[in-house]
């Protein structure tokens, strides 16, 4: 009951924030709605027992990515409160396609009987056992290459399943590459046409 109320609250915030992003024309307001939406998603993560993930969502998305976006907005703003308006036709078309897409998604979600999944796999879910969260240690061990929550029987010996050490390392290297690449891409360059600096789009 408690969780239900909270869920509906944050679900409403998520959906409202997302809709706000779509509807708003002002890019900074869009960023605000985005923050609202993503922050609420992180709250949903907490509700789903993924506390580490929720914190990560807050730190990386809301605190990092969105700040970066807003930063980008400021850097690319050619005038105060720049608005690049979406034409009504575009909006209508988008709404139609989006509506259709939503219908497709909803029909596939509702057409699926998820409860079958529980019967097909007997392995208990670590998350289900621990609805309040505390997934930090299992996640950390998984990234270090061990899955104590998912034992594998090899002969008579019970061992932890292999985890995600290699993907973890790959992602780390990937991040480094992206860091260098982004720095290279965004480095200061001569503008294409310096005389047009002050002109707004």
């Amino acid at each position: 009951m408690t969780a239900d109320v909270l869920f509906w609250l944050f679900a409403a915030l998520v959906c409202g924030g997302a809709l706000g992003v779509v509807v708003t024309q002002n890019i900074v307001r869009m960023a605000f709605w985005l923050i609202l939406s993503l922050g609420s998603v992180s709250a949903l993560f907490f509700l789903l027992g993924a506390d580490f993930l929720g914190a990560a969502q807050l730190l990386i998305y809301v605190g990092g990515t969105v700040v970066l976006l807003v930063f980008g907005v400021m850097l690319t703003a050619s005038g105060p409160y720049m608005q690049i308006k979406t034409s009504a036709a575009d909006g209508l078309l988008g709404a139609c396609v989006g509506g259709l897409l939503f219908l497709v998604l909803v029909s596939s979600i509702s057409g699926m009987d998820w409860s079958q999944l529980h019967t097909t796999n007997t392995t208990p879910s670590v998350i289900a056992e621990r609805p309040e969260g505390n997934t930090l240690r299992p996640l950390g061990l998984a990234f270090l290459g061990l899955r104590p929550d998912r034992p594998v029987t090899e002969g008579s010996e019970v061992k932890p399943a292999p985890g995600y050490l290699l993907p973890f390392e790959i992602v780390s290297v990937h991040l480094l590459v992206v860091l260098v690449g982004a720095a290279y891409l965004a480095r200061a360059k001569r503008r294409a046409n310096p005389s047009n600096d002050s002109l707004s789009a």
């Binding site: 239900d4 679900a11 050619s78 690049i84 998984a142 990937h174 789009a201």
Partner: protein
């Protein structure tokens, strides 16, 4: 026992996804398109975490979601760099202006 189940989260994810797609489709501002991408990624994450909670997917769902977050951060950094370049070249962030690849 809980009235809120997997489907509820999936519906939220669907809304998020559709909003993201529509955002990508209708926003002429490049940064706005990026925001749409973030929404889409978040909807996927939400679904993963929901599956982790309600299906035997377990911890794997969270691990994948974490990877998605990390990669999304990387994507945002690169995309922002591209947007800055775009702005440097076109003096605008309107993606409709960047149609040099028109056939």
């Amino acid at each position: 026992m809980e009235s809120v189940g997997l489907n509820a989260y999936l519906f939220v994810g669907a809304v998020l996804f559709v909003c993201g797609i529509v955002c990508m489709a209708i926003k002429r501002n490049g940064i706005g398109v990026l925001m749409g991408v973030e929404l889409v990624l978040n909807s996927a994450n939400l679904n993963f975490v929901a599956f982790a909670r309600y299906t035997p997917l377990g911890l794997d769902g969270q691990v994948i979601a974490l990877f998605v977050i990390v990669l999304a951060a990387a994507e945002a950094a690169v995309a922002l760099a591209i947007a800055l370049n775009f702005y440097n070249n076109h003096l605008t962030i309107d993606v409709d202006r960047g149609s040099e690849l028109q056939g």
